[in-house]
Amino acid sequence: MSRHIDHEAEATDRVMFGFWVYLMTDLLMFAILFAVYAVLHGNTLGGETGRDLFSLPLALQETLLLLTSSFTCGIAMIAARQRKKAQTLLWFGITFALGLAFLGLELYEFAEFIHEGHTMQTNAFLSSFFVLVGTHGLHITSGLLWMGVTLIYVMKRGLNDHLVRKLAMLSLFWHFLDIVWIFIFTTVYLRAFV
């Protein structure tokens, strides 16, 4: 039986390691999108620049939402490691809601831009903006989906090793997205106003 536990522990170790490698590849993909934004953000063809378009308070709200969600995610993980099911569900639920709110704000921002005629087809600056921020948004969406499904399984099966491992990866993913957002916030939004 102890051998079985070793086997499980080894598997967890491997999977977590592999997930770190995956996060690195994802980070590299974001790095490319950041580089592309850095190259293209000035190519507005005389149209509105980031300074004219972005709303700093909105971006700040998004940042706060995501930072808080990272914090609640951390608390949830502590609960999960102690196998406290109700608390895990509660804190992950809050994380989920915060993530959803973040996504809502982002979609609101996009909808505003598109409504005003600033689409990703307008110029290279907007293409790179929409794709960079949108890719992050897609990651958030998949994170939410993952969270939702995992939580349903937690409700059904309880907090077993397998699910805690899933949650641990999820929380890594969530913190990772938080870090990427900080980069987006500084290089896209803040820099536009410097």
């Binding site: 063809l45 005389g46 307008t122 110029n123």
Partner: protein, 309 residues
């Protein structure tokens, strides 16, 4: 121990065939180098000449490193073949540590020499660097199109298609750009190295012909179905011949006006040479600015493309 195998031994001797093949094909190359057709080895211009010197130097240096190494490798393989009972077999032989250093240091020295030559040469032969010469330099503006080359002579105010004439011993600055064309590469092998012609950019390439003659030019970078036919002739002539040619061209029937330019802009393949007596002086600037402004032009272009399909 399995007994040595006859066929395999013969293979051991056949190892020599490999370097022999090398040598044989080297001879073939030498034969062809003898042939005048090898443009890169028969430069007719200053830049091509210097580029060739650098290439030959690098080639010689690399061969000086590679030939002994190859010899050593094939010799070792041959000497320690299974059937050679005279060779010492010692599976636990310990090679001295100094070997390791030699392994790293020898290639490093070769690389340093090559890099040491390459760095200044790259700066000296930077395409945009002006060539120093006695004659007054001249400028030719080049527009790549689907699939032809347009040459504008701002000082003479004449224009040509798929033909460019230049006086020998005169530094020529080619200002390369493109109009509604994918990246193309401007290359006259006899005169010197290529550079990309791209929309919204100007790349400058300085060349100087030294021997009169007709030299083929092409795009080296693929840019669509008409790619292979996008060739031109670069004619290097004496200054007097060049002036005569300019005044002849001034008598040409057509001007490169907006209408004929629009016609040229339509994709066409394997165009013959054409000559224009004059062109709008701000044409070149307009071609570049076209890609800086609004995106209306772009949308129109995509629409026409779709219609063609």
């Amino acid at each position: 121990m399995p007994k040595p195998n006859k066929k395999r031994n013969r293979q051991g001797r056949l190892v020599w065939l490999m370097p022999l093949l090398f040598l044989g094909f080297g001879l073939v190359i030498a034969y062809f180098i003898h042939d005048k057709n090898i443009a890169v080895f028969h430069p007719k211009g200053l830049i091509a000449q210097e580029q060739l010197h650098l290439t030959l130097f690098a080639g010689a240096l690399l061969l000086a490193a590679a030939v002994p190494t190859m010899f050593l490798l094939y010799f070792t393989a041959w000497k320690y073949r299974e059937s050679n009972t005279k060779a010492v077999h010692d599976p636990y032989v310990r090679l001295s540590k100094s070997f390791v250093w030699t392994m790293w240091v020898v290639p490093f020295i070769f690389a340093l020499i090559l890099a040491g030559v390459m760095w200044p040469a790259t700066h000296r032969l930077e395409p945009k660097k002006k060539i120093a010469a006695d004659a007054k330099p001249m400028t030719i503006q080049v527009i790549a199109m689907r699939w032809k080359w347009i040459f504008l002579y701002p000082e003479q105010n004449i224009a040509t298609v798929n033909f460019v004439q230049l006086p020998v011993d005169t530094p020529v600055t080619f200002e390369l750009t493109g109009d509604e064309v994918p990246m193309s590469s401007f290359w006259i092998p006899n005169l010197g190295g290529q550079l990309y012609a791209m929309t919204s950019h100007v790349n400058t390439l300085n060349l100087m012909a030294e021997v009169p003659g007709d030299y083929p030019g092409a795009t080296a970078e693929i840019n669509g179905p008409g790619f292979a036919g996008m060739r031109f002739t670069a004619r290097a002539s004496s200054a007097a011949d060049f002036d005569r040619w300019v005044s002849e061209t001034k008598q040409a029937n057509h001007k490169l006006d907006a209408e004929s330019y629009a016609n040229l802009l339509k994709p066409s393949e394997s165009n013959p040479a054409a000559y224009y007596s004059a062109y709008d002086t701000d044409l070149y600037g307009k071609v570049i600015m076209k890609y800086m402004g609004s995106h209306a032009a772009h949308d129109n272009q995509i629409e026409t493309n779709h219609e063609q399909h």
